[in-house]
Symmetry: C2
Subunit: 137 residues, 2 copies
């Protein structure tokens, strides 16, 4: 789970530096169950961190994703969404308003994949559902 504490431990374990900016980004991500874009994180932090650059949001997210503390969803062709909730679940995106909902999944997706010719290793899996949400219907 992504918490500031876990994040700091992860950074230290890899020799990366624990900076105020990284802590701020991790803090804004911990305990969320929505799926913010890079810009949203950037805008939320901007008031308190006026010198924050959006490039740093992207690079920190990639760092956290590498440590499995964050998932970067390519559920939409336009932009990427971050998901700090690392327990297994799927996602539904409303094609109209682009809102992303969490979806419970009963089966273990990644290990539902039996060995297949040409594939060496599976890191993770995603289930994406697309449709229309109640508000947009």
């Amino acid at each position: 789970m992504l918490t500031v504490d876990n994040g700091i431990r992860y950074l230290q374990s890899t020799g990366a530096k624990v900076t105020a900016t990284r802590i701020a980004i991790m803090k804004s991500l911990e305990n969320r169950n929505d799926h913010p874009s890079a810009e949203r994180i950037f805008l939320e932090l901007k008031p308190d961190y006026p010198t924050l650059s959006i490039a740093t949001v992207y690079s920190t997210a990639q760092l956290l994703a590498k440590g499995s503390m964050l998932r970067i969803l390519s559920i939409d062709e336009k932009k990427v969404y971050f998901d700090p909730k690392m327990t297994p679940h799927g996602h539904f995106m409303c094609k109209s308003c682009k809102h992303v909902f969490d979806i419970p999944v009963e089966f273990d997706i990644a290990s539902s994949l039996t060995p297949i010719e040409g594939i060496s290793s599976v890191e993770y899996a995603e289930i994406f559902y697309y449709g229309i949400c109640s508000k947009c219907a």
Copy 2:
């Protein structure tokens, strides 16, 4: 299934025009089991259709997707891939070489989703696996 004949019937059924360009694009997509990008289709057709514009590739693909003759995969955050194989299956993408493999799926993904608060209708579902392919391992 996307064939030129089915595509023409679909276009006619919606009142859309059956143009030489659209037929060419459908022809290049029918019977494929790879996952070409817009640029790939464009480059493949360019020699025979020198005036083809990539904008037309995109718009025709969207048209075909609307008629469920094609799926537009957002498996990668960088670009979109077209998949003319409409029988249910999942996809694996190698994070290194970006190659996309078809993956058989036993269960019916879209209907595995029980009614959920806030969701009105589910159009389709995707399972994406990410990892490393044998060539890149």
